[in-house]
Symmetry: C2
Subunit: 260 residues, 2 copies
C-alpha cells in the first residue's frame, strides 16, 4: 500500500459533542474519498473553541495529505472556523471580493449586513470552494479544505472539489457473510490475514434470528487479491461447516450496508 | 462553569473510517454523559492500529477526567484494544479469572477456544465492566473505560457504569426556533452571548418550505439563567418582526431533535 494518500476530517461543533445533532458528514466524506483513492485515517470532533481549532488544524495538516473541516463558517458569533484557520496558517483573514460577489448574487443589498459579510472573510491566499446550495463559499488553503457543516451544503461542496484531489490507488472492498460466531473462525482468519498483509481483513459480528454470524470485509488496492482472499475466507468457513452467503462485489462507494 | 467534568471518546474501528459503518455510539454517549453532569469535549475516530491506539489513549487520558473507548475487544485478530490499553498504561495483559468465569456462563466448554478466551485478557489492575448482552466484559483502568463497539452492547455497558461516574453540575439546554435567517439576528445574538458568558449560545440554520429559520440552543448549568437567556433571544427576534416558536424545555438527554 505504498500509494496511500491519507486524509483527516475535523468536525467542528458543540452540537455534535452535546449529542444534540448526529453527525452525517463523516460517512459521506469517507465514501467520497474512497472513490478518488484517498483514505480517511482519522476524525476528530472538537468544540467551537479557538485554541482547540488552531491546534487541531496544525497537528493534522502536518500529518495528512488532506485535511477537511466541517462546521463553523456561517454568520453568527459561534462561527469561528475561518478566523481560526487563518491563525493556524499565520495569515490575515480579509474580505474576499470574489466571495462578496457570490453573496451579492443571493442576498439583497439591504440584507447584506455586517454579519452576512463575515461569510466573505477568507484567509489570504486561500481559494474558494463553490457552494451551489446557498452561495456562501468554503475555501481551501494549503492542504486544508474548509466546508460548511449543514450536510446538504457540505455534500455539494465536496462533490465539486472532489475531482481536484490527487488520490492513490482506489480501495476495493468485498464482504462475505459467515453464519458462525466470530470466535469460531478467529484462528484460521488470523492465519489468512498473516498470509496476506497487503489486505486489511475486518471481522464484524452480528446476531440474526438469535443465531450468531460474522461479516468479513476485505479491503485493498488489488481487486484480484481482494477477491482471492475473500474466496479463501469463504472456503475456510465452509470447511468448518458454516453456511456462507456471498455479499456484494462493490468498491467502497455507493451506499453503505447497514451495520451487521 | 467551574464544575466542568470533561470526557473524551475514542472510536476505534477501520469500518467507521472506511464509511462502511455509521457510528451510533457518539450521540448515545454524549446524551448519557450529560445526564450525569459530564461533558463530552472531544471525540477521535482512529484505525485498528497499535501505535495510534496507544498514543491516542495516552494523549487523552492525561487531558480529560474520563476517557471512553468503543470497539476492538472481540475475539478476532483485528481486536487489539485491550492489549494496546495495557501497553498505554505499561501494565501486563493477563487472563482474568473473573472474566473467564463470565465467558463460561454463556460459552460451552467445547467452544471456549483460544480465540474466545482472548476476550478474558484484561490489563492488570483493571476492573471489569459488566456486559449483560453477551457476557464478554469491558474494563476500566485508571480513568479509561473500554467498551464494545456493537451499539447494543456498548449501550448496556454504559448504562451499567454510568451511575459510578462523578459528574459536575448537569447541563441544561433550551432551544427556540426563530423564523428568520441567521444573518438577520447575528449581531444582536452576539451581543446577548457577550452579556452572558456563563452560557453557550449555539445558532443552527435551517430551511423549511423554502423559508429560512434558525434554531438557537442555549446551554449552561444554571437552569434559570438558561431560561432567561432563551427568553431574551425570543424577545430580540420578535422585536425584529420574526415569528418565534417555543421549543422544548428539556435537559440534554432523552431523544435528540432532528438537525434543523
Amino acid at each position: 500500500m505504498s500509494t496511500d494518500v491519507r486524509a483527516a476530517l475535523i468536525i467542528i461543533g458543540n452540537e455534535v459533542l452535546s449529542g444534540r445533532t448526529q453527525d452525517a458528514n463523516l460517512q459521506f466524506l469517507a465514501l467520497g474519498l474512497n472513490e478518488v483513492g484517498v483514505r480517511l485515517k482519522e476524525v476528530r470532533v472538537i468544540p467551537d473553541d479557538e485554541a482547540e481549532i488552531i491546534a487541531t488544524v496544525n497537528a493534522l495538516r502536518a500529518r495528512y495529505t488532506y485535511v477537511f473541516t466541517t462546521g463553523g463558517i456561517g454568520p453568527t458569533h459561534d462561527d469561528i472556523t475561518s478566523e481560526c484557520v487563518a491563525k493556524a496558517f499565520g495569515v490575515p483573514l480579509r474580505q474576499d471580493p470574489r466571495a462578496v460577489e457570490l453573496l451579492k448574487r443571493v442576498i439583497k443589498p439591504e440584507n447584506l449586513n455586517e454579519a452576512r459579510l463575515r461569510m466573505a472573510n477568507i484567509p489570504e491566499g486561500a481559494d474558494l470552494i463553490d457552494n451551489p446550495v446557498s452561495a456562501a463559499p468554503g475555501f481551501h488553503i494549503g492542504n486544508v479544505y474548509v466546508m460548511a457543516g449543514v450536510p446538504r451544503i457540505m455534500q455539494a461542496m465536496f462533490d465539486g472539489l472532489k475531482a481536484g484531489l490527487k488520490g492513490g490507488a482506489s480501495m476495493v472492498s468485498r464482504s462475505v457473510t459467515l453464519h458462525v460466531g466470530e470466535g469460531g473462525i478467529a484462528a484460521p482468519l488470523a492465519a489468512i490475514q498473516t498470509r496476506h498483509p497487503e489486505v486489511e481483513i475486518g471481522s464484524y459480528p452480528f446476531t440474526r434470528d438469535s443465531g450468531y454470524g460474522t461479516v468479513i470485509v476485505t479491503r485493498g488496492t488489488d481487486a484480484a487479491l481482494v477477491a482471492a482472499v475473500t474466496a479463501e475466507v469463504a472456503a475456510m468457513a465452509r470447511a468448518l461447516g458454516a453456511r456462507v452467503e456471498d455479499d456484494d462485489h462493490s468498491t467502497d462507494h455507493g451506499h453503505a450496508p447497514e451495520t451487521p
